[in-house]
């Protein structure tokens, strides 16, 4: 699966790693340049940004929000936010892709949590085993990028579970601790260690 059928949506899965990394860097640079044009009101550039990011944004939002209709709403909010605040993107503070994905993930968890409050968390009454399996399965089906899968697999089990539940499941570290029956401090540490290992494995630290 690719991010979008319309544009160059990142490197094809399974490409040799060095080529893939170089391609990714180039794509990231291009996205940053496009965002600069979007900041000046360039609608064509915005369409190109949409084509590059909509698939990824939808992917992460759907993982967290789950409900397809609501996911689309959130995606629309995120992408409008990209349009509205493109001038706030600062390449000094990270890649364009990380900026967009941060907006997306944050909005997705905000949506889920505000809804949870309203619905008294009825939607997510996780018994630890099913919660992890559910999230992991939903996500694994979409993890078509060999590199990420391989790097996730290099984490310890607790690191992987913590990262997966937090990022794809949208759970807070406190909830993750409860789900996994592990001390809160341990989960915090595993999340950080896990992400550091993931970052090093992916070679994404710029």
């Amino acid at each position: 699966m690719t991010g979008s059928g319309r544009g160059p949506a990142g490197e094809p899965a399974g490409r040799a790693e060095t080529g893939g990394q170089a391609g990714r860097r180039r794509a990231a640079d291009d996205l940053g340049v496009l965002l600069g044009r979007v900041a000046l009101g360039d609608e064509e550039a915005y369409a190109a940004v949409y084509d590059r990011t909509a698939g990824q944004v939808l992917g992460v939002v759907r993982a967290v929000v789950r409900d397809p209709a609501q996911s689309e709403e959130v995606v629309q909010e995120v992408l409008l936010d990209v349009w509205r605040s493109a001038s706030r993107f600062d390449a000094q503070r990270g890649s364009a892709s990380a900026w967009v994905m941060t907006l997306a993930h944050r909005r997705a968890v905000d949506r889920v949590r505000s809804e949870q409050k309203a619905a008294e968390r009825e939607r997510r009454v996780p018994s630890s085993a099913t919660a992890y399996d559910e999230v992991a399965e939903a996500v694994e089906a979409r993890l078509d990028r060999e590199r990420v899968r391989r790097c996730l697999a290099s984490l310890t089990e607790l690191q992987r579970e913590s990262v997966t539940l937090a990022y794809y499941g949208g759970y807070t570290y406190r909830e993750v601790a409860e789900l996994l029956g592990v001390a809160i401090g341990t989960v915090k540490t595993r999340m950080r260690d896990g992400l550091i290992r993931l970052r090093d494995c992916l070679g994404v630290d710029s």
Binding site: M1, T2, G3, S4, G10, A39, L40, E43, Y50, D51, A54, G55, Q56, L58, G59, V60, R62, E72, V75, L79, L80, R84, S85, S87, R93, G94, S95, S97, A98, V100, M101, T102, A104, H105, R106, V109, R142, V148, V163, A166, Y167, Y168, Y171, T172, Y173, R174, V176, G185, K188, T189, M191, R192, D193, L195, I196, R199, L202, V204, D205, S206
Partner: protein, 257 residues
């Protein structure tokens, strides 16, 4: 043995992973961001972790429905953008700037129809309505733009006890504030609202408010010469104005910070 402060800093720092995955509460997020603002190493770390989470997100990509594209692009065409931060923007409108004798930052602010949105985002407490009112106002006065676009601009709003709302955008860096009010109760012809800077040394007149008709927005008025500890207040005075307040203030806005 480590001090309590050290342990706290350590425990805040451990949150970097959870923070990068938004796995924290709003309060924790705010606290961690305060910590980040004073910790270069932490910012660097979060930046790296964010690249990792972005890769996780990208790996979950799916094909979006075709209809979504059109919907989003159309909505964007109707959505106003946050103006670029002043320092990052190439200066344009040279001709206009020369003609008006503006400093570049002012020219930018006047050029961007939505400059006040930037202030709104910075202040984080502003309703759309207020921002809109300031938008309408800003073209009228170029000094207003300097305050609105100041990097330390803050916006505050307060209810006037006899009705209406007073809104202040202030910049200590510019030593000035912009005052606007809306929906003030109308006064008898012989009376007018007067604006005051009220500091430890007493009240200094800051201008008569010319309200024209009920419900209308007044201002923007520019008040310069702010000092530490000043508050801004409104009283009702004889139409010619008073050198000192002769009635209790209907609203006071603290300008601290």
């Amino acid at each position: 043995m480590r001090s309590r402060g050290d342990r706290q800093a350590q425990s805040v720092h451990t949150l970097a992973g959870a923070y990068a995955m938004d796995a924290v509460s709003h309060a924790e997020r705010a606290r961690f961001e305060r910590h980040l603002s004073g910790c270069d190493a932490c910012r660097q770390e979060v930046r790296g972790l964010r690249e990792a989470t972005a890769a996780l997100g990208a790996a979950a990509a799916v094909r979006p429905p075709d209809a979504l594209r059109e919907r989003v692009l159309r909505a964007a065409g109707r959505t106003r953008q946050v103006p670029p931060a002043v320092s990052e923007v190439p200066v344009r409108r040279d001709r206009d700037r020369r003609r008006l004798g503006l400093r570049p930052r002012m020219a930018m602010a006047v050029g961007g129809a939505a400059a006040a949105v930037g202030v709104a985002v910075a202040a984080g407490v502003v309703t759309y309505d207020m921002q809109n009112r300031l938008d309408q106002a800003q073209g009228r006065d170029l000094t207003v733009a300097a305050v609105l676009t100041a990097s330390d601009a803050r916006m505050m709003s307060a209810r006037v006890s006899t009705g209406g709302t007073a809104t202040v955008v202030m910049s200590h860096r510019e030593h000035a504030l912009v005052f606007t009010a809306a929906h003030l109760s109308s006064l008898p012809v012989a009376e007018r609202y007067e604006l005051w800077l009220i500091g430890p040394a007493g009240a200094r007149p800051a201008g008569m408010i010319s309200a024209s008709g009920r419900g209308r927005m007044v201002g923007p008025m520019v008040v310069s010469g702010l000092s530490a500890g000043d508050q801004i207040g409104i009283t009702v005075e004889p139409a010619s104005g008073s050198p000192r307040p002769t009635s209790p203030p209907l609203v006071m806005v603290s300008l601290a910070g």
